[in-house]
């Protein structure tokens, strides 16, 4: 019987090697898993399970920009190096999760604690969680039922959800965001594809700037100043650069070819 403990890990390693070589279908995240980020910079050192952050929970209430520009969260998982002390001082997660802020008539629970008692532990495991979260899954399906559906990712068309007024993401936090004037949106433009006969991409500045502002993408993700100077291909995007920074992990994935390649080629 004990042999099993020996054989199974070896088999898994062998399977892992075969897997790493590529050429295989990857496991697609389930709708409620899509956009989940596991944050484990300091959690395990502190004897806590890593934080499992769900984008779908937050993006129904707030724009991308609010957290990734105003609150200061990075765009790469783990890059922000959030400490519990930062949260308790009212920064990062603690900006909203301070036990005082009220959203939808509900008080947002406080994040982090200096030490944990039995009572506080219940609060800790709201974010520091390792187990499969059946309640979270149910909550997701209850929520997504009401939303316009999409084929991939969370299977939710977030854009349409906002257009229909089903979600109203907040873009301004008192005391955190800078008061900005209304954004004048640049016109949409077409991006020519390199493959002849492939439908061109219509890039909508409007769709992107409503949620992201300007400085989230420029110049960190799209360096080129003049239109067309950022030279990139699908290979780069598949590798998680350019559009691929958001589109795959959080925004709709690249398997949805026709969401971008929409313009019928001319001639």
């Amino acid at each position: 019987m004990r042999k099993i403990f020996f054989v199974v890990p070896i088999l898994l390693v062998v399977a892992g090697i075969a897997w790493a070589q590529g050429g295989m279908k990857k496991h697609k995240p389930l709708p409620y898993e899509f956009g989940t980020v596991t944050i484990n910079n300091y959690s395990q050192q502190a004897g806590m399970p890593p934080v499992v952050f769900d984008h779908w929970v937050h993006r129904q209430y707030y724009t991308c920009r609010l957290c990734h520009v105003d609150v200061g969260f990075g765009m790469i998982a783990g890059s922000t190096k959030i400490r519990s002390a930062d949260n308790m001082k009212g920064y990062y997660c603690g900006t909203c999760h301070n036990g005082e802020m009220v959203h939808n008539k509900k008080r947002i629970f406080e994040s982090c604690a200096k030490e944990y008692s039995r009572e506080e532990f219940k609060r800790c495991v709201k974010c520091h969680t390792f187990e499969k979260r059946a309640a979270k899954e149910d909550e997701f399906y209850r929520f997504s039922e009401k939303m316009p559906s999409e084929r991939f990712g969370n299977r939710i068309n977030w854009e349409a959800a906002e257009e229909k007024g089903l979600i109203k993401p907040v873009d301004y936090l008192e005391g955190v965001s800078s008061k900005k004037s209304h954004l004048k949106v640049n016109p949409d433009f077409a991006i020519k594809t390199k493959v002849e006969g492939m439908p061109d991409i219509i890039f909508s500045h409007k769709k992107h700037t409503i949620w992201n502002g300007c400085e989230l993408c420029h110049p960190d993700i799209f360096i080129g100043v003049k239109k067309g100077t950022s030279k990139y291909s699908m290979v780069d995007i598949f590798d998680g650069r350019y559009c691929g920074v958001c589109h795959e992990k959080v925004a709709f994935p690249q398997t949805d070819c026709q969401r971008c390649h929409t313009k019928p080629p001319q001639g």
Binding site: V195, G197, V235, C257
Partner: protein
């Protein structure tokens, strides 16, 4: 040979070969590859090829496993309809279809709702057995008639599906939802792709067009094939046979790889296996 051992033997053979082969740099010699091909399922009867037996959820519910024949379905729908639009996984066991999902109109339930295709919803218990098959003889008999009219091939289902599609003998739907049109196929990709091998005699001509007729770009890119051409360090015959790259489909559903000359067109007749 019992049914069970016929399943287990190839699996054990595959596991042993996988074990001995991976992790080391050495390539299998031809003889060994030949052995793999002989233990792999494609050499079974034509009607059985591409039949997927779904055991996991059925067993839990105390039902006979579902036998899903790809061959019936692919005359009516292209691969992309089920594997993209209906979200069936490409690996058996990945999807985990449940009765509740089926009844809610997901997966099989999209068509098997009593309107498009038969359903259990009308309360006839004999309908259960149409999928939870106790006896597969009826399916076998059905195949005989079914295959008669279609162009022949030497392996797999014994049917040249690509030819049937090209010649219009079958005209499967390419989308189940009318509002979504299928993306236009780029002209540049109409030119067949040459994939070099160790010897020019065995070069492969790959047709994007034939594949796009059944599939979507995202069926293969970027998971199975990153668009970047990276040489053949991993894209070996061995890895293909073990179900990677082309082998993801061309081993169990699309024509199997013992049909060498379907891809390696100029290969000589006596290939050794």
């Amino acid at each position: 040979m019992t049914v069970r051992s016929s399943v287990i033997l190839p699996l054990v053979g595959l596991a042993v070969l996988l074990w001995s082969g991976s992790g080391h740099g050495e390539t299998n010699d031809r003889e060994e590859l030949g052995k793999v091909l002989h233990v792999m399922p494609p050499n079974g009867p034509f009607w059985k090829y591409g039949n997927v037996v779904m055991r996991r959820k059925s067993k839990k519910a105390g039902m006979t496993p579902v036998v899903f024949p790809h061959w019936i379905h692919r005359t009516k729908y292209t691969c992309r309809v089920c594997h993209l639009e209906l979200e069936f996984g490409m690996r058996s066991g990945d999807t985990g279809v449940t009765r509740a999902q089926y009844l809610a109109g997901k997966y099989c339930g999209v068509c098997h709702d009593g309107k498009i295709a038969f359903s259990v919803l009308d309360g006839d218990p004999s309908k259960c057995e149409k999928c939870h098959m106790k006896d597969t003889r009826a399916l076998e008999e059905r195949f005989e008639k079914f295959a008669e009219k279609l162009p022949a091939a030497s392996f797999g289902n014994g049917i040249d599906w690509a030819k049937a599609l090209r010649d219009g003998q079958i005209a499967p739907f390419n989308s189940i939802r009318a509002e979504r049109s299928v993306m236009q196929f780029p002209d540049k990709l109409k030119v067949p792709l040459k994939l070099g091998t160790t010897s020019p005699r065995s070069d492969v001509t790959f047709s994007h067009e034939d594949h796009f007729a059944e599939l979507d770009c995202s069926s293969c890119h970027p998971d199975i094939f990153k668009i970047k051409r990276e040489g053949t360090e991993f894209f070996s015959m061995k890895n293909n046979i073990y179900g990677n790259y082309c082998g993801a489909c061309h081993m169990r559903v699309a024509f199997p790889m013992n049909d060498c000359r379907r891809c390696h067109a100029k290969m000589s007749g006596s290939s050794g296996y």
